[in-house]
Symmetry: C2
């Protein structure tokens, strides 16, 4: 057995072919038809998630285009203790749907060393992933009703599904707890904002965003009443502030920066760019202003989509700070007299 | 399946019993007969290897003494990505030989949380380790013969067996390469010391030190001619110097400190205490002065005895510095006119 992997695409049983290792798509393109009949191994070092995850997302179809029979993708992570990281991928409908799996950094580097000395070992794939029929699931919603404008909504949320290789403690159990605890904390403090704060615990983020789409579909009539939507899906490490969607009105950004000053005492007052999230993506595409809870990201991808995403990785104080950060922001946006996008407040 | 483990003692097939978790031996002793018929789970956090490995070494028999039917031991490591660490254990001949396995930190903490709320889940053990019949093996020995006193020996070495869960890159492939490369480097430099430098690549360190014992047995006649023995078995991280056995004569320590000044330029000039090693242990017990190559130990136990002890964890420059450190020390001790234990040099 060559090493540890997680199958992420069409499973394979008994495919045997030579391995050919590439460090990036450019190298694949240079090889072109020379990968025909082979298993393409992507050994792309981690740069950042957005850049490196392309090998998981697109690697299979880009290799299939040149006739590869399967693909293996180095796990999208900066560190490894023989730790495979699974995750979503997608097939180009114009290419054969070849099997693909994630392998560990260690196995990818091992194959790279062999490749670099001219060895192309024959790999036999035994991949056990399979698609089961859909099962019924549901979003879970709780809210703190607003005192003056209960129809206006500040949505906070995360997703309670996870890749089944681990517990999904950071991705995204922690995000769900942040939303839940925000409501509980405000109730415990006896605080009742003018607008409604709605906690949405989404189902099925990882495998198709069906929870996010279903929420949007079920709440079409009140989408325009969603003042703001904040998603926590970056783990529950020390909070740094919020990432605001780049499409948000400038006035919203400056208002959030003003509100965030309340969080300076715990250094969670940064309003960054590129915010949002996949659960609230459908709402955002319908015009809702979206943001993400931003946290220290230095260790999230150590455990992301692995067996090691377990509760012992969650620091209780950091989780509590995430709750405090979310509660202060959600309460304030829900309670300010003027709309978040208004200049006068 | 509860989690990942490595079986390290007598294997079990089908043992089912309630888990009871203890943080240390004191807690076990307080429970006493209450563990009868149960599986004792040791969840001792890593303090240092010497202190914490006692749970792996003695845990089974100390639990068996109170009637436990099996034991599980939290892996001896400061960090984990669901990473089980295997290793040696020993049975007290006066107690039943109950099965024992290492589990990951994550699984141990999971069981601890259940235990602390009064839950004692029934665990079913499926352990696949087994003892195979002995097979013939051999130490591999190479030497650079001394120019003036070839019968006097400076021994350098490591072991080329490893726990089969990984490649054994740091434990102890690196140590073997340090010895090998030291000889090669000195030859390449055309250096020929007065005494012989002998590189010994020991077999079977992990499972009984039979290589070390066999060397001692085969070389009984020349043991007194072994001036010095240095083992590298702490990984090949950045070298810090050497650990000298506490039994070494004071004059040896002061002479080594003098020689080590040659290594100040690469900060490998520290002569520490508690040196030695298991391969050279039999020689040391027969009076040979022993030492260890000391390196930065901050990451060795992250990967020790795991699937993650692979070549990608070896930094080529740090390995080269280890070779340089060993070569300078071995050559100088082999070449100084007076004996290492002599005051006049």
């Amino acid at each position: 057995m060559l090493g540890l992997g997680n199958s992420i695409g069409t499973p394979a049983e008994g495919i045997s072919a030579e391995a050919i290792v590439v460090r990036d798509f450019a190298e694949l393109d240079r090889l072109g038809e020379r990968v025909r009949g082979k298993i393409v191994v992507y050994n792309a070092p981690f740069v950042n998630y957005g850049a490196t995850v392309l090998y998981r997302l697109q690697g299979a179809s880009r290799a299939a285009r040149y006739g590869a029979v399967a693909a293996l993708v180095r796990s999208i992570t900066p560190v490894s203790l023989q730790t495979p990281h699974t995750g979503a991928m997608s097939y180009d409908p114009n290419q054969p749907k070849i099997p693909v799996a994630a392998i560990t950094i260690e196995v990818a580097e091992f194959l790279q060393r062999m490749n670099d000395r001219g060895d192309h070992p024959t790999l036999k794939l035994k991949m056990e992933a399979k698609f089961l029929p859909d099962a019924e699931s549901a979003n879970v919603i709780a809210e703190l009703r607003g005192s003056e404008r209960p129809d206006e909504i500040v949505l906070i949320g995360g997703h309670f599904d996870s890749w089944d290789v681990g517990q999904g403690a950071h991705d995204d159990g922690g995000g769900v707890i942040v939303a839940w605890e925000t409501i509980r904390l405000l109730r415990e403090l006896g605080l009742k904002p003018r607008r409604t704060i709605r906690a949405v615990l989404y189902t099925n983020e990882e495998n198709g965003t069906r929870g996010g789409n279903a929420y949007r579909d079920a709440h079409r009539a009140e989408i325009a009443k969603h003042i703001f939507a904040i998603e926590s899906d970056s783990g529950v490490y020390r909070p740094e502030g919020f990432g605001l969607a780049n499409t948000a009105p400038l006035q919203v950004r400056s208002n959030l920066q003003e509100i965030a000053k309340l969080l300076a005492g715990i250094a969670a007052d940064n309003i960054a760019e590129n915010g949002g999230g996949s659960d609230i993506g459908p709402l955002m595409r319908d015009g809702v202003v979206g943001a993400s809870l931003d946290v220290d990201g230095s260790h999230y991808f150590d455990i992301h989509h692995t067996q090691a995403d377990t509760l012992d990785k969650v620091n209780p104080r950091e989780l509590a700070l995430c709750v405090a950060t979310m509660a202060v922001m959600a309460y304030t946006v829900a309670d300010i007299p003027a709309n978040l996008a208004a200049a006068e407040r």
